[in-house]
């Protein structure tokens, strides 16, 4: 009764009919149910097909229902929203699947023994052993690469943003862009050709050099963006106080952007921590613990994963170790990211009273 009366009243031009708040969820549940029905009826085996049908039904259903009740403009708005949601879920799917697979398979052999022992006494097909040598190798190679690439990268970015003018700056920018596109195997081959010239055996530091080549452009790019974000007014304020330019950069520009620069470096570290190809060429891999990066073959986590798979001869023990090492690598990168976020938050310019 009351709704009928309400409809007859001269309606407000500002208020239109609208679907209740829970309607998107209802449409989502409905489309999943219908998709499951279609899937069963048509005898579709693949759950992916079911999911795709559900996604299409969700978008179409949203449009049709909303167009009938709310009008075409709101319907388009809702379709855009639901497309964003579908895209989000599609993007999330591989991530969740990857993390789930790695964790579920990796935890099997991941324990303190695994983290503190090498593969020195057992062959690749037997159970037991661990990744201590690979962790040591990864930390040393990535650490040395960062020590080389981070200062060079940050200083290059400072040159480009604060001093760079004319042809030199343009060509530096160009070559940084070219470096960004270097495949990791090419960086490895470059260092390898130098090693062969001097008749050297594989060692950890050679890998660090190749990783540094890969890391440098990433650091330059991210640092450049962060420095550009520092307002020019701050530079001028400092210069107008009679502070020399280099001190302005050191004491005003860098502290203001240090959070972002650190995040950029950490992301670059995360990128090179997973590189296999140059390490395979230059560091070779080693089943024994070698903590000297300047002499003799070393191991690293991504290379360990690759070699465990390659040398497994179908042994489940090797697969388990590879998954556990993969989980360790993901955890390592994740911890680095968290540390970077922590530093960024801690160092960020403060607001508030």
């Amino acid at each position: 009764m009351s709704t009928a009366v309400a409809d007859k009243r001269p309606s407000s031009t500002l208020r239109g009919a609208s679907l209740p708040k829970w309607s998107p969820y209802a449409i989502a549940v409905g489309s999943v149910a219908v998709a499951a029905g279609i899937g069963l009826a048509a005898g579709l085996d693949s759950r992916i097909q079911w999911g795709l049908i559900a996604a299409i039904l969700f978008v179409l259903g949203t449009y049709v229902i909303s167009a009938r009740v709310e009008g075409r403009r709101q319907a388009k708005d809702r379709v855009a929203t639901s497309l964003v949601w579908v895209a989000f879920l599609l993007a999330l799917l591989p991530l969740v699947s990857l993390v789930w697979t790695t964790v579920s398979r990796g935890v099997k052999v991941l324990d303190v023994y695994f983290l503190t022992h090498s593969m020195g006494l057992i062959s690749d097909t037997e159970p037991g052993g661990g990744i201590y040598h690979a962790i040591i190798g990864s930390l040393e190679q990535v650490g040395l690469a960062t020590v080389i690439a981070a200062p060079i990268g940050v200083l290059t970015a400072i040159y480009l943003v604060e001093y760079g003018r004319g042809n030199l700056a343009r060509s530096v920018t160009f070559f940084v862009d070219v470096m960004t596109g270097i495949p990791s195997i090419v960086a490895g081959l470059f260092i390898l050709s130098i090693m062969l010239m001097f008749d050297m055996q594989p060692f950890g530091f050679a890998g660090s050099l190749a990783l540094a080549i890969l890391m440098m452009p990433v650091v330059v790019r991210s640092t450049e963006e962060m420095l550009k974000l520092v307002p020019n007014e701050l530079r001028e304020a400092s210069l107008a106080l009679g502070v020399p330019k280099w001190r302005t950069i050191l004491k005003v520009v860098l502290p203001t952007s240090i959070g972002g620069i650190t995040t950029g470096i950490m992301l670059a570290v995360a990128r090179i921590a997973g590189e296999t190809a140059p390490v395979l060429l230059l560091v070779w891999g080693n089943s024994l613990i070698n903590s000297n990066p300047f002499e003799g073959a070393q191991q690293s986590l991504p290379l360990y994963i690759y070699q465990q798979y390659q040398n497994s001869q179908g042994s489940g023990a090797a697969y388990d170790r590879a998954w556990a090492a993969a989980l360790t690598l993901i955890a390592f990168v994740m911890i680095l990211n968290l540390v970077a976020r922590g530093i960024a938050r801690w160092k960020a310019p403060k607001t508030g009273r």
Binding site: E233, L234, R247, T256, P349
Partner: protein, 258 residues
């Protein structure tokens, strides 16, 4: 302390574009000189040539002479960094350093220049903040970030930062244009106090403000868009606002412009 500025035949460029042409004037010590004129007429550019901040902009270059008590700022062997220590500047938008506390902001000029005694630093900061009429408002939170202050307080913090290095001249580029009337009043009162110790040059779009705070006023104008700005006339503020000698000045002041 306060020094006289003598400008003769000053022309400033941005790359090949001539922004201001052939400006000559004298700025008296211990007085407030206001620059007025339409947007784009080169007031701010001229102001920035007075402490060599113009050349910080890409392509900025200057011809002519700026004498600070008989020493040419653009002479051979003059270090722009030392010039800026003598001629301080306050900008249009308050720009405290976001990573620093209120105390550090005021101490920034001294600390970054490296020439100070640790024992004196606290006194200098207190003196500067009192000089900027900000001490009573911030004395209990000197370690809080400067960006937490209100806009007017931030601008006074920037003034305190500028006067902490004891410059001879203080340049102000529309210091009140981002502020509300109450904060503007606070800054104008402050300018009146500061002129006892410094030579002050202020750019303003607000003619009432120029009339209120300045002893002398300079009117800048440009003949057309894209043409360089020129100094039309400079005189006692009272004369400029009551009986200017150039018709264009009167037109601008009375709003019959263009």
């Amino acid at each position: 302390m306060a020094k006289r500025i003598d400008v003769s035949g000053l022309t400033a460029y941005y790359g090949s574009h001539k922004a201001i042409e052939d400006i000559s004037m004298t700025v008296e010590p211990r007085s407030v000189t206001a620059f007025i004129g339409p947007s784009g007429c080169g007031k701010s550019t001229f102001l920035r040539t007075l402490n060599r901040m113009h050349e910080v902009t890409a392509g900025g270059r200057v011809e002519g002479k700026v004498l600070l008590d008989d020493e040419d700022l653009y002479g051979q062997g003059i270090d722009p960094v030392s010039v800026r220590r003598e001629v301080g500047m306050v900008f249009q938008r308050p720009n405290p350093f976001p990573t620093m506390s209120i105390f550090d902001n005021v101490a920034a000029g001294l600390r970054l220049n490296g020439n100070y005694k640790k024992s004196e630093l606290g006194d200098i900061v207190e003196k500067s903040l009192k000089g900027a009429n900000l001490w009573n408002e911030v004395k209990d939170r000197l370690n809080k970030p400067g960006s937490g202050l209100s806009g007017g307080q931030q601008q006074r913090l920037c003034i305190a930062r500028a006067i902490a290095v004891e410059p001879n001249v203080l340049l102000m580029d529309e210091p009140c244009s981002a502020l509300d009337p109450i904060s503007t009043l606070a800054i104008e009162d402050l300018i009146g106090e500061l002129k006892e110790r410094f030579t002050i040059v202020i750019v303003t779009h607000n003619m009432q403000q120029a009339a209120r705070v300045s002893d002398r006023t300079a009117f800048f104008n440009l003949s057309a868009v894209g043409q360089p700005g020129k100094l039309i006339e400079i005189d006692e503020t009272e004369r400029i606002f009551s009986n200017p000698s150039v018709q264009a000045t009167e037109d601008y002041i009375s709003g019959r412009f263009g």
